[in-house]
């Protein structure tokens, strides 16, 4: 069709070609669907939310000052807060404790901004190396011993307070929860996408082949799906964990390989009706091969329901991963995922509620967004219900 258009434009009859070109600009079903989707506020808001979460999860851990596996032993289970740690009242006890390790006692103690000056004394000779004991605490940095007296029994210690922000608090091991939530999101999102694309690939191929060939082939292929369907799903997953335990990427490729059953059924149903359409008949009459018909005519036309199903499959897989992690079968420490964080949070709910709240907000927002997008796509592609 494009070719005829170009040919028409080359002809000198200018006025005629213009009308032809104008007639060509129609609104395809996809344009219509896109317009309907854009009008759906919940779906668009969900797209934005999902975009923000994905960007945060992929860039956040890189930009964050804390490593996702960095342990701050002085900040175990500190609550979420916008102001920096340490709190001023916590500085002096921490200093006393650190100096006690160095066998120094404090004579006087002043804080000016981030600068600490402390006069210290000891019964033995003070060595400059002792300032390391202060640096070892997560609260201080750049500690130095200066102005040692001649007998080396008194001196001045200067150090800076190492201000750190824990916007989401820290977990039971003293790791920054924000960085962990973001890195967990990366894991969960990658797993969701990976498993869904594997399911998509297998399901679409299997379903379209089964539907297109029909007859006995279809019967056998669908019987296989039925048998796999009645096998308890969690049994499969646990076996996969047993086989691929250490490697979660491999495991989720395998989970995707289990999740394709619904997809295959949907695509098969669609294919059964599509293959009776005139354009498929025409393609067959023109001698297009089976592969060509499937690729060019059948699969593109099944995409509507498939796209909807995939947007609903991604949250399902993320939830499944969380469920496995909750059972202790998923991602292993120090790597983490939303499911792992939530199950830790659920254990520490009393006294450290932020450990449950923040990962749950991220997980539910993502699932919400994906569900709304899925619903929006369904309404956009299948406007019958509106």
């Amino acid at each position: 069709m494009n070719k005829t258009m170009k040919n028409a434009m080359k002809t000198p009859a200018g006025s005629l070609t213009e009308t032809v070109v104008e007639a060509q600009i129609g609104r395809s079903l996809w344009d219509d669907a896109w317009a309907r989707l854009k009008a759906n506020k919940a779906a668009m808001a969900s797209c934005v939310a999902l975009f923000i979460i994905s960007i945060a999860c992929f860039l956040g851990p890189v930009l964050s000052p804390h490593g996702f596996d960095t342990v701050y032993r002085n900040y175990v289970k500190v609550p979420a807060s916008l102001t920096a740690y340490p709190r001023n009242e916590a500085v002096e006890p921490a200093m006393v404790k650190a100096l006690k390790r160095a066998r120094l006692s404090i004579e006087s103690f002043t804080i000016e901004g981030d600068q600490i000056t402390a006069k210290v004394s000891s019964r033995r000779e003070i060595r400059e190396r002792s300032s390391q004991y202060v640096d070892r605490s997560d609260l201080f940095k750049n500690a130095k011993l200066k102005d040692l007296a001649d007998d080396k029994l008194t001196g001045t210690l200067v150090a800076e307070i190492d201000r750190k922000h824990f916007y989401f608090g820290t977990d039971a091991n003293g790791r920054d929860l924000m960085t962990r939530t973001l890195i967990a999101g990366r894991v969960s999102l990658v797993i969701g996408l990976l498993a869904s694309s594997v399911a998509l690939l297998i399901g679409v191929t299997y379903g379209s082949l089964s539907g297109y060939f029909g007859g006995r082939v279809d019967l056998v292929m669908m019987r296989v799906v039925d048998v796999l369907y009645s096998l308890p799903f969690i049994f499969f997953v646990i076996l996969l964990v047993v086989f691929f335990g250490r490697n979660f990427i491999l495991m989720f490729i395998a989970v995707g390989a289990v999740e394709w059953l619904d997809m295959a059924r949907i695509v098969r149903g669609q294919t059964l009706s599509i293959k009776r359409q005139e354009y498929v008949l025409a393609a067959e009459a023109m001698g297009v091969g089976t592969g060509g018909i499937l690729k060019r005519h059948i699969i593109p036309n099944t995409l509507g329901p498939v796209v909807i199903f995939v947007t609903l499959l991604v949250p399902k897989v993320i939830l499944l991963e969380s469920f496995l992690s909750f059972l202790g079968l998923g991602v292993q420490e120090p790597m983490t995922s939303w499911g792992v964080l939530i199950s830790e949070g659920a254990r520490n709910l009393q006294g450290a509620s932020w450990m449950l709240i923040f990962p749950s907000i991220f997980l539910t927002t993502t699932l919400f967004a994906l569900n709304f997008i899925g619903d929006g796509l369904r309404d956009a592609l299948d406007p019958k219900d509106r």
């Binding site: 048998v227 096998l231 308890p232 969690i234 049994f235 076996l239 199950s343 749950s360 569900n371 019958k384």
Partner: protein
């Protein structure tokens, strides 16, 4: 109809046979065995254990023996819970799981259905939006988040209900597990009912019923609901099978002695017989409920015929 039921039950036998066979070999292929401990047992002890549990025979012999026993109704001894047979474990746990799951299913159908109808009747108005928001929340918030939060509110903060345990099935102990189990199902049923109800309310026979001057409650309950129930019924079948065979998360969090926990535990402990028992029980439940769904379908929709 009796003939149809019989035919369905007969065709279920080969499927069940296939399922049992596949899972038997799958779990055996998995690395590790039921008696592998962190510190390996002495060779002689291991040999004796293998002899007692007939693990020293070839896989085929074991398969034939196992299938023979299953046909006699004997699911074998549990490898992990010594002194218990798999049958004993199910006799103790299954009624508890069925009770919790049954109530949850009932709640889901009643509340989910009612909310769905409400949302459909007030489509695109405030009640619809609020029901759908709550329903989406019910689907997206995982039950292992809901469970601790509910426990904290009702068990710890308010102190109205026990935080866990079974206590021989006392009512206060059942409430939280049933609610937690039912919430996502309520949400899904509400969504399904709303969708199909909207479609049903637009169909010709409803317009005719309204035109004939039937009272609106009758139009909704008698005429629209019947058709709208079809997708709910086809969802409720597999869902019922899943609910009645117990939930790992709920049973672990609330400490309920049902059968839901066995599956994960057994597979991880390579408790071969218990895994197989669970697979068989779940498969039988799925098949029974699929049959019930098909029968209900034909009863609800006269266009459906058994062939």
């Amino acid at each position: 109809m009796l003939r149809y039921v019989l035919k369905r039950l007969l065709t279920a036998i080969p499927t069940l046979f296939l399922i049992v066979t596949i899972s038997f070999f799958l779990i055996r292929v998995a690395p590790g065995g039921p008696f592998d401990l962190e510190r390996p047992l002495e060779a002689k002890v291991m040999e004796n254990l293998n002899k007692i549990y007939q693990l020293d025979k070839s896989l085929w012999e074991q398969y034939v023996i196992y299938m023979g026993n299953v046909l006699k109704g004997d699911l074998g001894p549990s490898f992990f819970f010594r002194d218990f047979t798999v049958g004993d474990l199910f006799r103790q746990g299954l009624p508890i799981s069925i009770e919790i799951g049954g109530y949850a299913l009932l709640l889901a159908l009643i509340f989910g259905g009612a909310l769905g109808i409400l949302a459909a009747l007030k489509q695109n108005r405030a009640p619809d939006y609020s029901v759908m928001t709550v329903a989406t929340m019910g689907i997206t918030i995982p039950n292992f988040v809901v469970a601790p939060v509910l426990t904290l509110i009702f068990g710890v903060a308010l102190g109205w209900l026990p935080v866990g345990g079974w206590n021989n099935g006392a009512w206060p102990n059942k409430i939280l597990p049933i609610i937690t189990l039912a919430l996502p199902q309520v949400a899904i049923v509400a969504r399904l009912t709303r969708g199909s109800m909207i479609e049903a309310l637009r169909s010709h026979h409803i317009r005719t019923a309204r035109a004939n001057g039937l009272p609106s409650w009758m139009v909704v309950v008698v005429h629209a609901l019947r058709g709208a129930l079809l997708p709910v019924v086809s969802y409720a079948g597999p869902a019922a099978a899943a609910l009645l065979t117990g939930s790992v998360v709920i049973e672990t969090i609330y400490g309920i002695p049902g059968v839901g926990r066995y599956f994960v535990q057994a597979a991880l402990n390579r408790d071969y017989t218990l895994v197989m028992g669970t697979v068989i029980v779940i498969a039988v439940f799925i098949m029974i409920f699929n049959l019930i769904v098909d029968l209900l379908y034909a009863w609800l929709d006269p266009r459906v015929r058994y062939d």
